[in-house]
């Protein structure tokens, strides 16, 4: 047997399991009409780097959804990159530092989804990453940095306006 091809009844050897690159750390279902969703115990020493996905829900307002790490609340968050409307335009965005990443993804009243990669949110150094989000007709594609060196174990999604309903947040860790 050789990873990544397995057959029914194969023994899962340590060498094969240790070669698995991505592990599901946490799954969180989003409730109804909540103004924020905090996910705890997502980051730890087990992984340096993470993927967060959010999908399957809606927001009450078409607008940005923010992301904040739980132990970093100062004006240390920068976001920059491109956004726009599919088939119409691609624009640039580079606002001043804020107390959260205000624009990681774009919520939608019909549907929205996003993928956020984070590098070293648990480590005592700056957290970097990138986000990609799509809503009906709108896209966000941003680079991220939080220059705080605080170690965070969780995060909060919060629409800049309105509330979130339904959908699922999943956190995956890249095997070190």
């Amino acid at each position: 047997m050789g990873y990544p091809v397995f057959a029914s009844g194969d023994v899962l050897n340590a060498s094969d399991m240790n070669a698995v690159g991505l592990w599901l750390v946490k799954t969180q279902t989003i409730g109804s009409a909540v103004s924020s969703v905090t996910v705890t115990s997502a980051f730890s020493s087990s992984y340096d780097n993470y993927i967060i996905t959010i999908s399957g829900g809606t927001t009450s307002v078409n607008g940005s959804v923010s992301l904040q790490l739980n132990n970093s609340t100062g004006s240390t968050y920068n976001v920059a990159g491109n956004y726009g409307n599919y088939g119409i335009n691609v624009l640039t965005y580079n606002p001043a530092a804020a107390t959260r990443w205000n624009d990681v993804i774009y919520g939608g009243t019909v549907a929205y989804s996003g993928v956020i990669n984070l590098v070293s949110p648990f480590a005592t150094r700056a957290t970097t990453g990138f986000s990609e989000g799509s809503s009906t007709g709108v896209f966000y594609k941003f680079s991220l940095i939080d220059t705080s060196t605080n170690s965070s174990t969780g995060f909060t999604f919060a629409p800049v306006s309105g509330t979130m309903t339904g959908g699922t947040i999943r956190v995956y860790g890249y095997r070190n």
Binding site: T29, V34, S35, N62, N85, L91, Y106, Y140, S161, G162
Partner: protein, 42 residues
């Protein structure tokens, strides 16, 4: 105005007065008009 709910893992509860004030101070509104991302992502 009714305070919105917040969610922490699987627990959903109404915001405290202090949490709600902090939310309002952040610029949050319950029903903002649709944001035009062409002019301002935030």
């Amino acid at each position: 105005m009714e305070k919105p709910n917040i969610q922490i893992d699987d627990e959903i509860r109404e915001m405290t007065d202090e949490e709600y004030q902090a939310l309002l101070d952040s610029g949050w509104t319950a029903d903002a008009p649709d944001t035009n991302p062409i002019s301002d992502p935030a």
